[in-house]
Amino acid sequence: MPTNKVPRISETEWEVMKVIWPHAPVNAAQIIDALTQIDPSWHPKTAKTLLGRLVRKGVLTYEQHGRTYVYSPRFTEEECVSAVSDSFLKRVFDGSLRPMLAHFVQRKRISPAEMRELRRILEREGK
């Protein structure tokens, strides 16, 4: 499968994806069951709406098994985790336009060569 760009996933959609990843492929009933176990306030209708949205976005794909639809994720959790989108404004002005945040590491992109360089420096400078 070609690696497409991972679409943006909202917070509530994340909650749904989190129960799908470990058990995929799953049907709607199983998903709703898992969600309500974590948080009983989940509405089946809300979950179904979100599933529809996730399918439309291309995050989930489905197959029809008889009467029910079975859902599978199109991206791994790792791929979704690292695909946080940035607008150009955010990239350039990130620190200055978000004074309410203090990060651990402030980098959104790094090349394998740069990673190696950092490791090399740690090796060298750490006596």
């Binding site: 994340w14 985790v81 978000r98 203090a102």
Partner: protein, 351 residues
């Protein structure tokens, strides 16, 4: 009302201009002292600039940096030394000041609106999230808090809105973790993340960060200030790392750097080429941080000398040239170029 705004705008312009000299001096100091300057003092130097950017009135002192006319005000460069007395503003200058005021107000408001908008978006998303309740995670957090003697209640939240762990807010601070962090980090690694964010909390970095943002908004037109505040934030990270290592165990510095590198590898998207502006700079910052961490403890810094230096620079940078500096640039809507810079009366000249 218009006069008040105009006076304010002109004061901001003058402070902005003078800050350029200050920024140059600070960069010079940082470059020449290098690693002998402890990270927290390196960062503290930038606060002299921030205070200058926000301070409307300056006392005068003989130590002021701004004895030279052109350093003190851009007007000195624009208008020739008038021998006929300085109170003859041209129509043109008045008109210019009026236009500039409106341009400035628009830019400052626009910047502030963006900042508050960003905050609002993030706040709304984060506040609705369920906090992390895993006792193992909370235990690590409490251990770190006890070590650093921090008693602020702190909520941990997983969110997809950020790509690095971050501290959020300062009134009711929350520790944000990117999705998947808790699964992929070991306990010691999580400890490193918590220690770093708690160090930010202890240093009140976010509260001060808002002051930086206000200064940024007021001086939106000055690219030197953008750069300076960017460097202030970079140095802030170095100072925070320094504080973490102070609390960490002996020899833990290497593991701390490795946690940092691991997180970079996990949550950053792969970039085949540094084609986008800022990436080369980003890498340099990471190199500086890793280097400082690796060298921690093995390099003798001079904190007392640093403190004295900072205080002296504050005195030189935050004071004005002469008694005439104490008042705001102009009143009654009549923009006069700084006459103390214009007509050097015999009694005034001097070192």
């Amino acid at each position: 009302m218009q006069d008040l705004v105009q006076t304010f705008a002109l004061w901001v312009s003058r402070a902005s201009w003078q800050s350029i000299t200050l920024v140059a001096v600070i960069l010079l100091i940082q470059v020449s002292l290098g690693p002998r300057l402890p990270a927290r003092w390196r960062h503290a130097l930038w606060w002299i600039v921030v205070v200058k950017l926000l301070l409307p009135v300056v006392p005068s002192s003989p130590f002021s940096l701004f004895h030279f006319g052109f350093l003190e005000s851009p007007a000195a460069l624009l208008t020739p030394r008038a021998s006929t007395g300085a109170h003859s503003p041209s129509e043109f200058a008045q008109h210019l000041a009026g236009i500039w005021t409106w341009v400035w107000v628009t830019g400052a408001l626009f910047t502030l609106i963006i900042i508050f908008h960003e905050h609002g978006k993030l706040a709304r998303a984060v506040v609705r999230q369920r906090p992390v309740t895993d006792p193992a995670v909370l235990d690590v957090l409490e251990d770190c808090k006890a070590l650093m003697r921090i008693y602020t209640p702190l909520v941990v939240i997983e969110t997809s809105r950020i790509s690095s762990p971050a501290l959020f807010g300062f009134l009711r601070p929350r520790l944000l973790l990117p999705r998947g962090t808790l699964k992929s980090l070991s306990t010691p690694e999580l400890r490193h993340v918590f220690l770093h964010e708690l160090a930010h909390l202890q240093r009140h970095d976010i509260a001060f960060g808002w002051l930086l943002a206000v200064a940024q908004a007021l001086h939106w037109f000055n690219p030197v200030i953008w750069y300076a505040l960017h460097r202030a934030r970079v140095d802030r990270e170095l100072a925070t790392d320094e504080l973490v290592l102070h609390f960490a165990q002996l020899g833990e510095n290497r593991a701390y750097a490795e946690t940092m590198i691991k997180l970079l590898g996990q949550f950053s998207r792969p970039a085949p080429l540094p084609a986008i502006a800022g990436i080369l700079e980003d890498q340099r910052q990471m190199v500086d941080r890793i280097r400082q961490i690796a060298r921690f403890g093995s390099f003798r810094t001079r904190p007392v000398a640093a403190a004295v230096l900072v205080l002296f620079l504050a005195l030189a940078g935050l004071t004005g040239r002469s008694q005439k500096d104490v008042t705001l640039p102009s009143t009654a809507g009549v923009p006069t170029p700084e006459h103390s810079a214009q007509t050097p009366l015999p009694a005034e000249t001097g070192p």
